[in-house]
Symmetry: D2
Subunit: 192 residues, 4 copies
């Protein structure tokens, strides 16, 4: 992880799935991720509420916006106020995309909470070719950060290859994201 | 209508709800709208397929993207190829917003069809305070046009006041939309 | 139609899709059906509100129970109080069945309205093999009537064959439905 | 628990929410429940796959039927073949009821699996007055067992009082359930 951090200049986000794993993950990762399936895993929320690392809480696949906020409260009430909320798409009847990316959630969360809001266009669409458009849309909607899946050879990825960008696609996307960010008076730093 | 067209410089869009009304609406309006409730009203689709005016077809409240495309085929097969597709939000379990604005539909429709795609952030959110963010997001996602509800005094509007912008809010929004459009290499013309 | 009525002893239900067709359908059919796609076709609802035939109003594919009741009001307010409400399945994320058959709607409608409630297990499931179980469930839930698709050779049906029973399956189903009806103190008459 | 078992003659079902709690719960309870929020908690599924007690696996609030079956596989593959599947309602756009009770799942699960299927009309409706109708519907649909919330004074219940029956309502319901069960050639034993 230290190496990945040094090479990319990016923070390391690691999903934590059990209470027992929390101390070890908190030792090495920069940000602890609570995945969509664990949004309402209250024991786990309480456990990450006691560490000093930032936590990224993903909205459940059928989580309501108010439930996401209440789950964040579980973490904050444990003493850890560094919580980021992540919109990653919800389950609806539409099958053209893997999930329905609910960008409405971004301004709603920004209005009702002071927490940073992250968007995940990879899971939000499930389809690589839609990721650039929807990443731009998320920035325009007010997202504070994005989490985007990248793989040197997506078709050979062990999971989620269908929604992963190549390094070239990612580099190209970053250029256009900087332009959209500037158009809404936001700034994307140098590390990325 | 002629007056409204002259004052605003904007095209007049009028919803048509019955087959009988088609000829009269086609005589005066610049664009005929098929509302969400009539997306699958095949008799009506065939009727607007025979006029020479452009048609804006709104996605049904639980319409799948492929159904929207098939309904457009009904119009086009009648001879009217000037069809615009409109994403206006779908019904899901989320209640924080009036609808779930499915912006994924924009790049999906652009990829699978040559038809222009319009976004309706007013119905897509149902809440005035979310309209600017989501209008910007729709432009960033690749929308070719927006339809936005405006009212001189929204709280006194006979319908949809909760999602209508004031004239001042609209003017301010247009400034920021031009910036976002430019950031994705699009251009918003002078009329508006 | 007269022949079908005589042979089966069953009422003839015919879908009416346009205002213009209402008088002719009302002349020949015993019951006018408003299909799911037209639940909120207010012009059509008003038109069938003025005839003297009973109307069966089907719930829209994403219709809320309260919307179904309000649409029934459109018909009743026109003077036609003979309205039957039909649960026929709603659109959800589940794809194992054609629709999600919302049997909860039956007792909810019976509690909030005096109108008869009809269940459509054919559309509610979309799969022939599920129809008998769900027809029985609908009767047990309190349905006042069922509408079941039957075809002498379902695999050759022009539409909905996948959800149609053969005549033999239907005859066998009726025997078990009479038993379930009796168990909830209801009675299925002789005609069928 | 031993006392409750003796007084009611009913098996004791206890929800287990963490891997650590599995051994203790397995020592005292007759059946281990995996709640809807933990349907895809794979660590927990593996843990209950190693005990000798029966497990009742509840469908997630937005779980697909095939996902429920795959989660059951996690348990069975650990060596514990005594798995019961529970339909308890799914999340949809309908708000008249707490959940949409997807009774279609009962015959689908019975067709695609040999596992017993349990229905939970309390969570499936969320409303006490709907529980009797939907309990009868579940039996008619083919459910092998029901789980029904009962409370001596529901309005004072610490949770789920709105969906709990009184003892009198429960006793009355059992009489009618025996009749429906008999009508579909099933039998409800003496203990209850």
């Amino acid at each position: 992880m230290a190496e990945a951090r040094e090479v990319t200049g990016l923070p390391i986000i690691t999903e934590v799935m059990t209470v027992e794993a929390v101390p070890m993950v908190a030792e090495y990762a920069d940000i602890l991720q609570i995945g969509a399936r664990n949004m309402q895993n209250y024991g786990l929320l309480q456990a990450v509420g006691k560490v000093t690392r930032p936590v990224m809480l993903k909205r459940g696949i059928s989580g309501m916006i108010k439930e996401l906020l209440m789950c964040a409260e579980y973490i904050v009430s444990g003493g850890n106020t560094q919580v980021m909320l992540c919109e990653r798409g919800i389950r609806t009847y539409e099958t053209a995309t893997r999930n329905t990316f609910d960008l409405n959630a971004i301004p709603v969360l920004k209005e009702t909470s002071h927490l940073p809001v992250i968007a995940d266009p990879s899971h939000g669409t499930g389809l690589r070719e839609l990721v650039p458009s929807m990443a731009r849309a998320a920035v325009a909607a007010g997202a504070d950060a994005l989490i985007i899946e990248v793989h040197p050879d997506p078709d050979k990825a062990m999971s989620d290859g269908r929604q992963s960008l190549t390094l070239e696609e990612f580099t190209k996307l970053m250029v256009s994201l900087r332009r959209v960010a500037a158009a809404v008076d936001r700034f994307i730093g140098d590390a990325v």
